[in-house]
Symmetry: C2
């Protein structure tokens, strides 16, 4: 169906980019065959490092004309196989397009290349007293990866998700045309919002080559609360009450003892407390300590009324650091505790979180498999991991598939969606196809065709 | 090209809806032939009042099969002719689908039918201590109209635009299929964001039959500042400095003396001050008076340093009411002061507002025509009105077209967009076509085709 890369194609790429940025065959590292948690892998036929929008455009023009599949890749921290070149072809490695181009203090925007990693953006803006709110756990992800999954992260409860902070994009279309969508403007009602469609499109509609992000002033004070509960039901049951109380926490995370212990072992560092079965971790921000205290006092009281064993207030950097670095290591820690794992990233309405988590405990018993979960209780986005441990290949695949089928069905019953922030990519397609009816899927396919009539950009992903 | 409505079609509609909700020929009020500021008008061949999603779906199925154009209409407060049935056909009047269906306090959402008007939503939620931040000037617009233009309003500076508050939609596609997109979930990365595409699509991609809106806790205190300046340049020049100071005002509006005088006359009510040439009107909110004071004190000081003549603080309801009701009447007041007018709704980066407004003053002299402007200085979205006054039809059309061409060109030069919140509809198409290159327009047309292959839903609008 697709054209295989031949000597002329390689020649074209080498002439365009120079020898040293074109990798073929064994020169391509195995790393580029998979992402963080794929289960699927394939190497591209050729991997190129691009440095400019114009290069991306020239390569897409060539690929479009020749019918060669192309996949764009950032840090490869995805969790659904979205950047795996399942049809081979060309992989565009965008990690070297990693400059911060402009901080515009008059318009509160930051313009960056696609390969800048999240922790650099955070550092850059915070040093200058600005704030980029999206805060996914994986700090080495590139900004374009975040845009393409519409990553949410911890602070979504108060601040929303990546899409809400993308003001403008430069995008190279599958046919090589360069499009500027949005800009530094705050409002835009000038034709269909292509910007919002690119956000969350997982590299299937266009290649992001520049992004203009919205910044906020940096809140002057952030305070975290670590709240132990006797059990998870009580912890999670408290969350809708916090929301209903009209407090405005920045984040509400939940975690269980086992995950904390795994993180302690993984980091070789003690968590401030690990004696309880379940915890809520909350943060609050504002411009004065008094203002922040006012907003968390009510919540602390409410937690205690709901049966919390204590409320630890972390207002020193050190203590906050120890809590949040543990939280940041959960994924890696759980991963290190087993042989293999796969994740379910559903998002359910916030008052359904407890029901969903209880159900995963039932599954753990029914299927005799370890299931670990943590996540964003405050926004209903749950990360549930099924662990392989000692299972052989066949038993693992069978069990995983049965457990996933149950979890995604339950999420649907609870009016949830198949992915909160990791995306669909390749791995979660079957569950998305179950979620939507035919009319919905047809529309998604039609949208893909509107951008990519030859289906060369990241084929076989999302809705295909 | 399109099928004309015949007796069978009318019969079908009457059987579906009953005689009393189907209007044909002279039974259709002239009101339905235009919107608020169109310049274009045409009556539909048949106008129907719908009450349920199922009715909308049945009508679309019929229209799709027969090839009849359909336009959906709310309150008709649009400003670009988006709801004018320029091809005749069926008009769906959605104003009677006006129920507030559910306030979900656990998930902070409000689910409404499309015809609920904005002021009802504001009243309903504020009485219950919740807050729906989007606040366009036209309070009698329907919520579906707001969604379809992605209306912004005054509070966008701090709170963003309508799209940011739409969590889920029920949409009837041109072929009659009913789609549920999004929901009560806070995060969603499950396929292309159809929800975000529908927002701002001006009734051309689907018909919104239900919306689930995100609410916030109601801020307990709002304080407004009215700041007179010796001239408009000084007033507007202060805005980027306010943004840069990292204050977080809810709104920054600018207004000139002439517009205030027109509003006073129109409302027969005095504005708190009308002695200065130009004003900024700011508002700040928060949960305590101290917190709000803290945030505006710095801004008040900054305004005085920049040459403001005074700073009037309005913390009583009465005084705020008098200021904001005048602001709310600007459009009507300017309209009442002339024979006819047309508006330019550009959005430019915030630090370009002064340049754009200065340019409109140059145009006023160069073309010897009255131009009035006011708007959202804090977000760069400007409403500039060209007034016909005594010009005859031909001279008016010629002058308007020349002045508009200049203004939209200038907006493009300043990296602005053709519409901030009123949309493109029918009237602003030429300016959008000038803004985007061919690849962009092709993509917009392809997206339209992805939803509406027979081009029956609101044909001839946005990108056609």
């Amino acid at each position: 169906m697709y054209k295989k890369i031949d000597a002329q194609d390689v020649q074209f790429l080498k002439e365009l980019l120079g020898e040293e940025r074109v990798f073929v065959g064994e020169a391509i590292s195995e790393d580029y065959s998979h992402d963080e948690l794929g289960g699927i892998s394939r190497l591209p036929e050729v991997m190129v490092e691009v440095l400019t929008t114009e290069e991306v455009s020239q390569i897409m023009k060539h690929a479009y004309q020749e019918g060669i599949p192309v996949v764009a890749r950032g840090s490869g921290t995805g969790l659904v196989g979205a950047s795996v070149p399942i049809q081979g072809g060309i992989m565009l490695n965008l990690t070297k397009m990693n400059r911060i181009k402009e901080l515009d203090e008059n318009n509160l925007t930051l313009t960056v290349e696609p390969g800048v990693i999240l922790m650099e953006i955070a550092k850059y803006v915070e040093e200058r007293d600005f704030f980029y709110p999206p805060d996914p756990g994986e700090k080495t992800a590139t900004i374009a990866g975040n845009i393409n999954t519409n990553a949410g992260g911890m602070r979504a409860v108060k601040y929303g998700v990546t899409r809400d902070y993308v003001r403008g994009l430069e995008v190279v279309l599958p046919n090589g045309e360069i499009l500027k969508v949005g800009g530094k403007v705050v409002k835009n009602s000038s034709g269909y919002s292509i910007k919002d469609l690119i956000c969350g499109s997982e590299g299937t509609l266009g290649i992001v080559t520049e992004a203009t992000l919205k910044l906020l002033p940096l809140p002057k004070t952030v305070i975290s609360l670590l709240v132990p509960f006797p059990n998870l039901d009580m912890a999670i049951g408290t969350v809708p009450k916090i929301i209903k109380s009209k407090a405005a926490p920045v984040a509400i995370e939940f975690m269980q003892r086992e995950v904390i212990l795994a993180a302690e072992e993984f980091l070789d560092k003690k968590f401030p407390d690990n004696s309880s079965d379940a915890y809520l971790l909350l943060s609050f921000d504002g411009n004065t300590k008094e203002e922040v205290e006012k907003s968390y006092e009510k919540v602390a009281q409410l937690c205690l009324e709901e049966g919390a064993l204590d409320v630890f207030i972390s207002d020193t950097d050190e203590r906050k650091q120890s809590i949040w670095s543990a939280r940041g290591a959960f994924l890696e820690a759980v991963k290190a505790s087993t042989t293999e794992m796969d994740e379910c990233d559903v998002c359910v309405p916030r008052d359904k979180v407890a029901q969903f988590i209880t159900y995963t405990h039932d599954l753990e018993k029914a299927f005799d498999v370890r299931i670990r979960s943590f996540g964003h209780a405050g926004d209903g986005n749950l990360h549930v991991y099924v662990l392989r441990d000692g299972l052989d290949e066949e038993a693992w695949k069978e069990k995983l598939s049965a457990v996933f089928a149950c979890m995604y069905r339950r999420a649907r019953e609870l009016d949830g969606v198949v992915s909160g922030e990791h995306g669909i990519g390749f791995a979660k397609k079957p569950y998305m196809f179950e979620q939507y009816d035919e009319a919905y899927i047809t529309l998604l396919k039609n949208i893909k065709l509107a951008f990519d009539p030859k289906n060369i950009l990241n084929p076989g992903k999302v809705c295909q």
